[in-house]
Amino acid sequence: MGYPHPSHPRETPVISKYFGDAEARTLAGWQARGGYEVLREALATDPVEVQNVVKESGLRGRGGAGFPTGVKWSFMKPDGKTHYLCINADESEPGTFKDRELMRWTPHQLVEGTAVAAHAIYAETAYIYIRGEYTEPIARVREAVREAYAAGILGANAMGSGKRVDVHVHKGAGAYICGEETALMNSLEGRRGNPRIKPPFPAVAGLFAKPTTINNVETVCAAVHVLRNGADWYKSLSSPTNPKSTGTKLFSVCGNVARPGNYEVGMGFSMKEFLWDVCGGPPSGRTFKAIIPGGSSVPILTPEECEGAVMDYEGIQAAGSLLGSGGVICFDDTQDMVRQIARLARFYAHESCAQCTQCREGTAWTTKILERIRDGQGTMKDLDTLLEIADNMTGKTICVLSDSCATPVVSGLKKFRHEFEAKIPKNRSSVMVPSFATAAA
């Protein structure tokens, strides 16, 4: 639902149905809403069958990568080895705040989804890695886990199935990069949150070097409903024109928009209707200038590009961006794009883990140049340098944080070049006086 706003009639609330409903947080409340029946049945079902239903449903990872969930689960074979499930609740992509709500309003939905996923991948132990800043979600999920253990839903004999399902909540400590699946595993192991080189892939050697699957919070919550109502039902929730993107997506809408909040709509929803109708359009008296549709790491779109776009994986890609995490950041006509892109670069510079040369140095360098331009000390040559740096930062690193920093720079310069140029003093020679040498500094 459009929490904190009332549900919009055009929403399709499935996983977000109980946002704002305090009762749904408790075990009793969740059970009253049909909770844990899916888990009971799943535990009595062969994991391969569970995988197949989810495969058939077309559910794709909702953290940002969009990898087909059932296929991911099917990489885990009954090989007798210890398997691990990690739930990625490190939600730190700017613009994204859906998992926060899922955890604080329906923690049992997450616990149930976690247990179902663990069973589907032959794992007895699941860790829910929640970012350290999420105090309330951590408390709610911990309480839900405690309730579930007390009721025998989790533990050595989950729901009397004879199978063990252990779920542990693990608190992060402030690092965006720990949302990268291999960095998450390193962090869980008590290390610096450095992404790992792949291969080996997590399904082969992941957490504690064992076969591991990492799933996003929203994904496993959706899986519960897929298993409750079936694959065909899930497919029916989305526009039939694109069978590759099915079900619903919980979009987090923020920035300069009339009604910021989380909205759940069927895949394939019209972006025009979404932004201007469902979310209320720009704030009163303003117009949209730019929209980032999938969290800060995806290309910036102009309002014109959004008008014709369709909100699913392929549709947003066709419009020139990516669905990503579904964090929709809105900029109105009063915003300074140079300032905001500089701020985004600064975010990435703060969050770089420092392993790869391009990212460690490139994010900081990009930020410094952008801030200098923002402050009126830029040159035209800087714009070329920025693009070359961005190219050197793309496709060359262990993880894509480096690429993610480059993206808003490239799309920003492409679509808002006039704003950058406007900040560059006209009567400046191409020889720069370093900013630290200017009197004002």
Partner: protein, 512 residues
């Protein structure tokens, strides 16, 4: 075996080989920083990105294993541009310290930038600054020069198993850190200075002593213990200024311990026995070589009893000849072995600072020398003691001493009848046999001072003067003689030893 193409050359290597190693077999260097054959792969510097046809992105060669039919381009435009990008990123905060940096001349950042980097800088922002830090032991850390390759961290963690170094902070604020109170005092910590591709980790001992291009280098073997680590003696104007490890997978991989590294000053000492000396009515005075050798031989032949005390750090060649002398004159051949603490490099196989602080006690044993705790206690008046480069300060009264050595201890002077000055191991060729029976060559690194002569030459001349036969003057020929007369060394030659050594044949058989 896997067959692939690298830069147009066909390469055949075992499965599991990474592309950097595979390229080496074709004579192709893939530039890299963080990769090291003795350390776990990190894949962080991104310098080794290569283009493999059909791969969607450039791939790090250190972390990519060979595949049949791969076609690898190291010098394609894409790969070159990527390297140029990495170099630019590394240089934006790197201080222009070359004129004052010890690494200059042997710096991989210099080398690759000169080869492939930008000719100018377009970085206009203030550079990051962190102050220099003393890491303890022999190591200084200069964070501004650090490229965060993490070789040092991985070495201390995985090889030394003493993780006292970390990466601190993150992003461009990152630096190599440690914890207050825990320093780099590990016996093998000095290796991080060698591992550092740039001048971020420096040896305090070597600080500002010499420029890399002023150094002459000779392959040698460390004489400080019986491990026999392969080293390079680096000299400047005939003075040894640094010892660094030389790679030998069978002995010391790429490493040397700090005891061996620091133990080079004695090689340069000037208070040497520089010319032959004999006893006259006026006391000890200089003499010609022939006179000194004759006097020594006469003293030995005329003695009721002779004891030969040799240093277990003399070469195989020298000890062989001294052993011949001993058996010819019926002398007992003894040695004392100084011992100290052991300090293994835990992450390596069979690599340690050994308790026996002697380069060649194994060889000495093979040539008939026995260890005695107090070998001089049995001496009596009228005995002759031959001291071959061993440390002796007192002898019982009435004992005459013939010195074959580098020093003449004043405490001994009253007993000395003749002293023959020899070269130390850095001033001659020879071989040592390490504790595992590996025979390894060392090459001359500096000129012999004054009238000193190679130790095996002196021993040979003395043996001849004693009537024990005649011997060739060159170390290689003496070794050939050892190979035919001492069963343990059968079939070995300097050529087959090369610069990596070889195990004694019988031992090789039993361990095969």
């Amino acid at each position: 075996m896997v067959t692939l193409t690298i830069e147009g050359r066909t390469v055949v290597v075992p499965p599991g080989t990474n592309l950097i190693e595979a390229a080496k077999t074709a004579g192709v260097l893939i530039p890299h920083y963080c990769y090291h054959p003795s350390l776990p792969v990190a894949g962080v510097c991104r310098m080794c990105l290569v283009e493999v046809e059909k791969f969607p992105k450039l791939t790090p060669a250190c972390a990519t294993t060979v595949g049949d039919g791969q076609v690898v381009h190291v010098h394609s435009d894409k790969a070159r541009d990527a390297r140029k990008g990495v170099l630019e990123f590394l240089l934006i905060n790197h201080p222009l310290d070359c004129p004052i940096c010890d690494q200059a001349g042997e710096c991989e950042l210099q080398d690759y930038t000169f080869a492939e980097g930008r000719k100018d800088s377009r970085y206009m922002e203030p550079k990051r600054f962190n102050p220099m830090e003393d890491f303890g032991g022999d190591v200084l850390y200069v964070p501004n020069r650090c490229i965060l390759c993490t070789r040092c961290v991985r070495f201390m963690d995985v090889m030394a198993k003493d993780p006292v170094l970390n990466v601190s902070e993150r992003g461009d604020r990152a630096y190599i850190g440690k914890f207050e109170g825990s320093d780099l005092t590990h016996a093998w910590a000095g290796n991080v200075v060698d591992l550092c591709p740039v001048g971020a980790l420096l040896s305090k001992d070597f600080l500002n002593r010499a420029r890399a291009w002023e150094l002459d280098r000779a392959a040698s073997v460390c004489p400080s213990c019986s491990q026999g680590c392969n080293v390079m003696l680096e000299t400047r104007d005939n003075v040894v200024v640094r010892i660094r490890p030389r790679a030998n997978v069978a002995v010391n991989q790429h490493f040397a311990c700090d005891v061996g590294r620091m133990n080079y000053r004695w090689i340069n000492r000037r208070d040497r026995l520089e010319y032959p000396v004999v006893r006259t009515e006026q006391g000890l005075s200089a003499a010609s070589w022939s006179e000194a050798v004759q006097r020594a031989a006469a003293a030995i032949s005329g003695a009721a009893r002779v004891t030969m005390l040799a240093s277990p750090s003399l070469s195989n060649e020298t000890l062989f000849l001294l052993g011949r002398i001993a058996s010819h004159v019926g002398a007992s051949s003894v040695m004392t072995i100084e011992r100290g603490h052991e300090a293994p490099l835990v992450g390596a196989k069979d690599l340690s600072l050994r308790a026996e602080r002697a380069a060649n006690h194994t060889g000495a044993e093979l040539f008939g020398f026995t260890e005695f705790a107090a070998p001089l206690d049995a001496l009596a008046s009228g005995d002759v003691l031959i001291v071959a480069d061993a440390a002796v300060t007192t002898v019982p009264p009435g004992v005459s001493v013939v010195v074959i050595g580098t020093l003449l201890d004043q405490a001994l002077a009253a007993h000395v009848v003749a002293a023959l000055p020899i070269c130390n191991f850095a001033e001659e060729d020879g071989t040592f046999t390490n504790l595992r029976g590996r025979v390894q060559r060392f090459l001359q690194a500096k000129a012999a001072p004054a009238q000193t002569r190679p130790s095996y030459r002196v021993a040979g001349d003395l043996a001849t003067a004693l009537g024990a036969g005649s011997f060739p003057p060159l170390a290689a020929d003496i070794f050939a003689s050892i190979a035919t007369t001492v069963p343990a060394f059968t079939g070995m030659t300097y050529r087959t030893l090369g610069l990596q050594g070889a195990p004694l044949p019988l031992l090789a058989e039993t361990t095969a």
